[in-house]
Chain length 271, copies 2
């Protein structure tokens, strides 16, 4: 499935109490007035918070949770490190569109990533429905290098983060691919995991519902595929240049245990 | 159903050859560089063409076709005239969002319509899917006067036509209503008719597919409910001030007949 289609959906990966704990943490992080927080076009609602694994112990443990990390290691067939994390709360009635794009075009051109040996593990913290910004994908598009079919707009890294995206695949090519590959809409309950290849074409309509649509994206890269030096690199919080292999934690942030008990339990389990 | 929910979906109202004929005519009209044609934010793709019943014989007959006109007369329980027609081609990858709104707020405030005795008969000329801009509705919202829960932006009629809409219901009220009433997504094959009350809250996500999503909207008003004089009225092509009752035509633009034969057939049938 993953090799052919470029994505994989796993329901019920995280429990309701776990997604609730992550949502509480998301709410806290969204209130920080820091560069890692990007606003929507309206200048008010939070579009994204990046590098949440550096800002929060909970998210740091989450990114090393074996349910996230092991699939990444298995599918990339190597040790991995975190290239980027992004929290995307997609506010009710305000959360804006993400146009069709391949993440890897950004990682390659703006960050100096050599090969498409990176992937995206995204976890739905709210229910994702047809109304609040499902994730549309083109199955099989991860096999395509689209470098010659793109239009790049603007200078500087700031415009890699807004609704008016920077590296666009041309509408002609998108039309051909949509016809050939078809479209799939990914929806699911809180706790659902969507894993997808760094080159999978994906997009998301705006949130037109009364409920938020919070998704946490962790982008893992193979440690064998570190970033090369590049002129005007994006900041570390958008593209880590520290390819240290991650070690997995079992159910690292289980919400049933207070932090101290959990840390002790993990220590005793020898992890 | 219509009385309780505020909308009604009727599949297969028009045949494939009929919707194809209307699509050909739509393509012609979209090429006219006239004030009635409104472009998307990108300044290139056509967002809407208004008053198509004045610009095209085919659409004029279409608006009097008994399949459109009779439901309008029955549901409004009176003779009707055309307040407005709008062609909305929603171009592949470019067709933009329409936020939640009640049409009647515009007709009342910008056009001087006295009562919500008007409705919308929309016909899908392309297939409407979850990917190309389905129409979301809040069932039952047509019973609500929301005058006190709105924010109005800007001056002049031009900004009643763009993606950044003019009369917005407040997010707080929308959230309450979405929770209470729920959301329904209207999709369907070409030839499907969606009839909805002028006060039904509706919206539509952008077209993220490779196919156009052309819908023709005819807004009928009761002849007992003509527009009152108003300062700075919108142009006639947006809001007709000529409440002449329409007479129905049976299958008025049947695509099987060339125009001349059809006109003769209609004449012979005494219509």
């Amino acid at each position: 499935m993953y090799e052919e289609q470029g994505y994989l959906v796993v329901p019920d990966q995280f429990s309701p109490s776990e997604t609730e704990a992550l949502l509480r943490e998301s709410g806290q992080l969204s209130q920080l007035d820091i560069p890692q927080r990007i606003l929507e076009r309206d200048g008010e609602q939070v579009r994204s918070v990046y590098a949440v694994h550096q800002l929060s112990d909970t998210f740091e443990r989450f990114t090393r949770d074996s349910r996230n990390l092991e699939p990444a290691r298995t599918l990339l067939d190597s040790e991995v490190y975190i290239h980027q994390t992004q929290l995307n709360p997609k506010a009710p009635f305000q959360g804006d569109v993400w146009e069709w794009h391949q993440d890897y075009l950004y990682w390659q051109r703006d960050d100096g990533m050599a090969l498409p040996r990176a992937l995206n593990v995204s976890v739905f913290l709210d229910e994702v429905t047809e109304f609040n910004g499902p994730i549309f994908v083109m199955p099989g598009s991860h096999k395509l290098a689209l470098d010659d079919q793109t239009v790049t707009r603007g200078h500087g890294w700031e415009n890699t983060l807004t609704a008016d995206i920077r590296h666009k695949v041309t509408p002609d090519m998108l039309r051909q691919l949509a016809m050939r590959l078809g479209l799939v809409s990914i929806k699911g309950k809180p706790g659902t995991t969507l894993i997808f290849d760094g080159r999978l074409l994906h997009c998301s309509p705006p949130n037109l519902s009364g409920n938020p649509r919070t998704v946490i994206f962790t982008r893992y890269n193979s440690v064998d595929n570190p970033l090369r030096p590049i002129e005007n690199p994006r900041p570390e919080w958008l593209a880590s240049r520290d390819p240290v292999p991650l070690t997995a934690l079992a159910h690292a942030f289980s919400a049933e245990l207070p932090d101290s008990d959990r840390d002790q339990a993990l220590a005793e389990s020898g992890r």
